[in-house]
């Protein structure tokens, strides 16, 4: 099954890259932006046909490697 996960910075963590992207967008004329936060997206094809088990495997990966829980949150957004 293909499991998609997104990893985002926690609310209190400064995101300097997001800030610069926002400034650049502002310079391009996108004036209505409150904030930009940059994150990561993973698409992982696991050898598992049970969606619940597949989700568990990817959650385990997120906890152990893909996300650093000091600064990041993860969310499984799609299983197909």
């Amino acid at each position: 099954m293909k499991v998609s996960a997104i990893i985002t910075l926690k609310k209190d963590v400064l995101d300097p890259q997001g800030k610069v992207i926002q400034q650049t967008l502002d310079g391009m004329g996108f004036k209505d932006v409150n904030e930009v936060r940059q994150g990561k997206y993973f698409e992982i094809d696991v050898k598992e046909n049970d969606p619940k088990k597949a989700q568990k495997i990817v959650e385990d990966m997120c906890n152990k490697l893909l996300a650093n829980l000091v600064i990041e949150n993860y969310k499984i957004i799609e299983i197909q």
């Binding site: 963590v13 400064l14 300097p16 890259q17 610069v20 490697l65 893909l66 650093n68 000091v70 600064i71």
Partner: protein
């Protein structure tokens, strides 16, 4: 005294560290990341560089490499483990010291000399040093130390902050902090003070004619403390 420097794919300060340790009397061995066992050592160093191309998060891949289980066991049994720059990033990713190193606040790669102040000498690394302010070199893109409020309280309560960025008089202020790190932190210990992670490179300050001698003072003192 015996030391071991771990080489990860992408490490680039491993040989500098070897030169520095050897110069001051350590019998140093280079250890490959894919080895399982550490040689018998009094000190293990995780060097600077760009292990695994800084993929995912700096130090995250290296922290899962084969040799790290031995390094973690060595640290847990009280062995001295020092991580410099990328080595510090590997230490935080492996959970040996708390927190994480984020991208520098002003999004610049910083390569310059800085001053750091030693806050706490009650540990094997800084014990018996007769100076507090050191001029050392930093070169990093992700040196912006960060941890949760609970972690900060804990590391402050346990005196785990090893060094702060400061000016040449030892004054710690945000304007002397090159990367935006929390509370001007440049290096921290684990709770037991046998593991030290820091962004500055003492191994780049060991030759009077090329740089400065503050790294020499650090290494000589460290060797005497371990003896």
């Amino acid at each position: 005294m015996k030391s071991a420097v771990i080489t990860f794919p992408g490490s680039n300060c491993d040989r500098d560290m070897h030169v520095a340790l050897s110069k001051f009397g350590f019998k140093n061995k280079m250890v490959w990341h894919n080895d399982n066992e550490l040689p018998k050592s009094d000190l293990v160093v995780l060097p600077g560089g760009f292990s695994y191309g800084d993929y995912l998060r700096c130090g995250s891949m290296a922290s899962k490499s084969k040799i790290m289980q031995s390094v973690i066991n060595f640290a847990k049994s009280g062995g001295l483990v020092m991580g410099i720059c990328n080595g510090f990033q590997i230490l935080v990713e492996s959970g040996l010291v708390p927190g994480i190193l984020l991208r520098n606040k002003y999004l610049e790669f910083i390569c310059k000399n800085v001053f750091v102040k030693i806050d706490n000498k009650d540990n094997p690394y800084f014990k018996n040093l007769d100076k507090e302010v050191f001029e050392l070199h930093v070169a990093h893109n992700e040196g912006n130390y960060f941890c949760t409020n609970d972690q900060l309280k804990e590391i402050e309560d346990n005196n785990q902050i090893a060094i702060y960025y400061c000016n040449d008089n030892g004054k710690t202020e945000e304007k002397f902090n090159p990367n935006g790190s929390l509370n001007n932190i440049a290096g921290i210990f684990n709770k037991e003070k046998n593991v030290l992670g820091m962004m500055p490179h003492p191994e780049r300050m060991i030759d009077e004619s090329l740089s400065g001698e503050d790294g020499s003072i650090f290494f000589k003192n460290l060797l005497n403390n371990i003896k």
